[in-house]
Assembly symmetry: C2
Homo-oligomer: 284 residues x 2
Amino acid sequence: MINKLCIIGVGLIGGSLARALKAADSVGHVVAVGRDVEHLKRAVELGVADSYETSISDAVADADMIVVAVPVGSMKTIFAELAGKIKSDAVITDVGSVKGNVVRDAIDTLGDDLSRFVPGHPIAGTEQSGVEASFSELYKGQRVILTPLEETDALATQAVTKMWHAAGADVESLSVEHHDEVLAATSHLPHALAYTLVDTLAQMHEHREIFQFAAGGFKDFTRIASSDPQMWHDICLNNRDALLDILSRFSGDLNKLTKAIENEDSESILKLFTRAKTARDQNC
Amino acid sequence: MINKLCIIGVGLIGGSLARALKAADSVGHVVAVGRDVEHLKRAVELGVADSYETSISDAVADADMIVVAVPVGSMKTIFAELAGKIKSDAVITDVGSVKGNVVRDAIDTLGDDLSRFVPGHPIAGTEQSGVEASFSELYKGQRVILTPLEETDALATQAVTKMWHAAGADVESLSVEHHDEVLAATSHLPHALAYTLVDTLAQMHEHREIFQFAAGGFKDFTRIASSDPQMWHDICLNNRDALLDILSRFSGDLNKLTKAIENEDSESILKLFTRAKTARDQNC
């Protein structure tokens, strides 16, 4: 049971965590923190939070667990504001989709509180955003990756693990670097491709007809292009090296397919499609 | 009411059409044609067809409507086999995802029967294939594009339109060329991207972990990579020019995004993602 949980940034991810913990009777009081008072009031009205604060230092003063759920580009400012203001046994975690830059931000700002910071990333979400889209079942059966550092207190990692278990998630550990490589491949690259595809089509002069004749496959394929642009902008820049690496591999492979189509190289096309179908059927 | 319907190639598309017409009481007898007797028997057992034939000329002799539902690379052989063997008022249509090459194949082979050939393409399907995956609701509320030629008999177009209406679909007309451009953008390119992405990831040495940490967004994005490789190989080669054109636009745009990420050009990234989100939210 977490006595007082402080959620900084109550959107889909932070809001769904609060809802899940309340539904599981695993939290006493939830305080929501943000800059937009109307939004915070809405979180309280919806029952996601019990109270709200616009001042981080007031909100974190007596919190037992602090979850930072803001876009990764804003983590550093938040860490700097809460450093030194929390209880000596309070635990901090985040939900950022990139871990390398967030960990660097934490090292730069958290000082003595760094040992009680557990970097985390729930592999869950929808293309929706905002507290209105939050729901208590979001994490049920989904994975949360923690990337604890050498200096991370084992008790802090335990507390964060327990919290995610209570929310219904499975918890696994990866190194910071490995996390960023794996997520660049499975999440950041597909988002970049989906945004680019929709934008390519939207620029064509017959774009109205193009979207009109799009079927279910296209809608599934581009669903993630409805995700929050600021959040994904932050992720792309904060996982720049890993994303550029996988983008370069993908572009090389797409170029090979393009050449095969140009040359009517039947065998190469059929081999590629067959390999891909086999891999997806086996793994998804 | 179609007295006798002949479906050449009873997979997901042909099988679902037969099921829909039977459910709507819009067909008398359905004969399934193919090379694989076990598969044809299965179609009869499932109630998709009333009888089967392995000889095209026997099957089409007294059919009123002939639907050719084979991969686009096999259309020409089928057209050549049925030309001159059908009743003088029988109507032929196809369900190919590419129209230019199919129409050229029809012009080359159908002779006097060409005026009763109505090129068609139901914009529906799933990543599944085979008669086992067929279901009567597949076309409900979906679009079917017909691309009649100058020489196409208006009564033939009417008969095919009526058939698809009975199956629950909306029917629209496009020119052959326009169809192939629009479908290259909304369907053929996304399939090429999904196959390539899964193959890129499957080649990485940590591919097991990569697929293990893939979330719902990835599964949606790559669903179409589970589609039939032979079918999509045929589509890519048969719509080569339109596909290469849109591939080149897409690759150019992806290259621009890559450069923007390399240069940490925040404004360009945010603009692209915002334009794409707006276009998708408005159109899908």
